[in-house]
């Protein structure tokens, strides 16, 4: 998987496929911040989601450190969600941070890192783990969609989780550090 700096460069060069990739890569993260962190639902959640990507599209050129794409998008998303809560007519944005949002952000950052590791696994593992854990599909549906016997899904999930564990823990071994990037 190419790094964020490369992805940003390609987007700024006007490469359409790069923008598609950026949206694909960050859509779950933005959605989860709005939904889990700020508890936005329905049209509010959708508007916030679209607003975030509109701002990303318009302001990508102003991102000083392209490697800091994730924290930058997180910050934009939080601002958009707060604006949306404020627009609902209650308080100033600074008074609207939901309880526990910092913990949610930590949890989502961890999940984002695991998902990046998932993206490095063979396609068959990405597919089966995503369908089962993120899309809540049954063994039967997965079997039908992927054309594999449903009786083998459980073992495939277990094998792929093992690979994911190896990949994720391999990414986090020293001397890699925490991977946290300054925004």
């Amino acid at each position: 998987m190419a790094g964020d700096a490369e992805l940003v460069r390609r987007c700024l060069d006007g490469e359409r496929a790069a923008w598609d990739e950026l949206v694909e890569q960050y859509s779950r993260y933005v959605y989860a911040i709005a939904h889990q962190g700020y508890r936005l639902r329905g049209p509010d959640a959708e508007d916030a989601f679209q607003e975030v990507f509109l701002r990303v599209y318009d302001r990508l050129g102003s991102l000083r450190d392209p490697e800091a794409l994730r924290p930058w998008i997180a910050q934009l998303t939080r601002r958009v969600c707060l604006d949306r809560l404020a627009a609902a007519g209650r308080d100033e944005p600074s008074d609207l941070e939901p309880t526990g949002v910092e913990q949610t952000m930590e949890d989502l950052d961890e999940a984002f890192a695991v998902r990046e590791a998932l993206g490095e696994l063979p396609e068959e593992c990405q597919e089966v783990l995503d369908r089962f854990f993120c899309r809540d599909e049954s063994y039967r549906t997965i079997g039908e969609e992927l054309g594999i016997p449903s009786g083998t899904i459980a073992s495939r999930i277990s094998r792929c989780l093992g690979k994911l564990r190896e990949r994720f823990e391999g990414r986090n071994e020293p001397p890699g550090g925490s991977g946290e990037v300054k925004a």
Partner: protein
């Protein structure tokens, strides 16, 4: 922290997929932005066209093949109000 399979599964569940239509609309932003620029240019050069666009911003965007999401409608409104 050790990541056993159960924990990895729990972490994966934190990032469910958003509705596909939302993702598609966001991916269409470059096209939408170009269409929006075209609409604004037409409105600036033709008063009748401007009136038509202002009368129904959503329909104007939709006629350009653009999903009229709330942020895009707001932006079009703002640009036409200048």
């Amino acid at each position: 922290m050790s990541y056993d399979e159960e924990r990895l599964a729990e972490v994966l569940r934190r990032l469910p997929a958003p509705p596909e239509a939302w993702v598609r609309a966001a991916q269409e932003l470059p096209t939408a932005r170009a269409a929006l620029d075209t609409l604004v240019a037409r409105a600036e050069s033709d008063a009748a066209e401007r009136a038509r666009i202002v009368a129904d911003l959503e329909a104007a965007l939709a006629a350009e093949g653009i999903e009229p999401t709330s942020p895009l409608v707001s932006e079009l409104r703002e640009r036409l109000s200048k």
